[in-house]
Symmetry: C2
Subunit: 208 residues, 2 copies
DNA sequence: CCTCCTATCTTGACAGTGTAAGGATAAGGG
DNA sequence: CCCTTATCCTTACACTGTCAAGATAGGAGG
């Protein structure tokens, strides 16, 4: 039982241990594992020990890189906000250059992100677990907000209402779609859904 | 140590035990305690044992009434949806009778509820813990949705887009305000805030 | 009044969780 | 070559949800 059956010698000169003591890039691996965990078990079933197991390390290994579970989720949220902005930028890059089209594109990106990664979306907007007073997370979140404000300004919006309206319509659509509500709209082909979202967002823009 | 120091006899003929073995209306008390727990510690810090302690019973007492923690949260969500609808009805009762005013009133009630009871609002819309296949909860949730559809119909809306737009704008405003985002708007006096919300919702209604 | 049945609540146990403390292991610089 | 540092593991503890078994009341029927 203690010796393996004889096998052809593997090319590797040393019997490389299954898991080297040092992971190499555990921090990044834990962030990936954490988002998987979040996607599969949801925010409420999230377990730090399970994340560690996913990454192939002991349950206490994350502590050194993130402190506690809040630290891990804070780092994940910061990264999430950056990718959230990237999703908007991707839509803006292929849209018309006029301010209205740009803000519609941002809204489409907003929704794209929520549908593609609903668990991460919820971590950003509906969770109380990340530490939003953290410097890195705060900066990432502020950048996302500032992007919205800039766009509303560019469309000619001046009031608090214009800003709130643009934000709320994108956010409401994204949240409802991410949660699987709005079934009649969520089951549409992507092109039709995009067109519908664009039309709705345009209703809300400040009158030209 | 085993006998108390002599005290004046209390007026009560029998030394009434601090906690009678049977609570009397534990089910209702647990629902109240659960919402308090939710409001104070958030969905992520929610603890069934803590709820039981709040109600003054042992940690396993809730099991008989709700089965497990999911059962408790399911019942709380069902009750929440009914009060959510009641918040909308309260606004509708004091609004003009025309369909547009009614749908605006419903939106104001939507936001009222989210601001007054943000933890409960999140349980309804962003949690995965309640069992939405439960009969009672499903009926309550469907009633809330049906109310919206009826209102959109009454305003002349026919398309999926009209329905989605009306829902999303109320939901987006409510969610952002409940989460404490939209600070510039959340810090407004109530009357001004209501006026702003009304104006935003009216932008989205199907053109008359 | 007495008995029994049922609903209600408690106690005790177990596996799983997050976190802290201390030890093991590698990597690199002196 | 040694020693420092970063990284990861093991162990332990308090807390959580759930289950099983027992204790307690209330009420229905004799």
């Amino acid at each position: 039982m203690s010796n393996d059956p004889p096998r052809l010698r593997t090319p590797s000169p040393l019997p490389v241990p299954a898991r080297p003591y040092h992971h190499g890039d555990l921090r990044a691996a834990l962030l990936v594992a954490a988002e998987q965990e979040l996607a599969e078990r949801g925010m409420e079933g999230f377990s730090l020990r399970s994340v560690a197991k996913r990454a192939g390390v002991s349950h206490a290994a994350p502590a050194h890189h993130f402190g506690d579970v809040q630290g891990l989720l804070t780092a994940l949220a910061a990264e999430g906000f950056r990718e959230f902005l990237a999703a908007q930028a991707a839509r803006e890059a292929v849209a018309e250059a006029d301010p209205a089209s740009q803000i519609v594109a941002a809204g489409l990106g907003y929704v794209d992100f929520a549908i593609a990664r609903p668990a991460l979306f919820r971590l950003l907007w509906q969770s109380e677990r990340p530490d939003f007073s953290d410097a890195d997370l705060g900066q990432a979140a502020r950048a996302a907000y500032q992007h919205l404000v800039d766009q509303v300004m560019a469309t000619g919006g001046r009031s608090t209402a214009d800003e709130a309206a643009a934000w709320a319509i994108s956010h409401g659509l994204a949240d409802l779609l991410a949660a699987g509500r709005l079934k009649s709209m969520g089951s549409l082909p992507v092109a039709a859904r995009d067109a519908m979202i664009s039309g709705i967002i345009r209703r809300i823009l400040p009158d030209a």
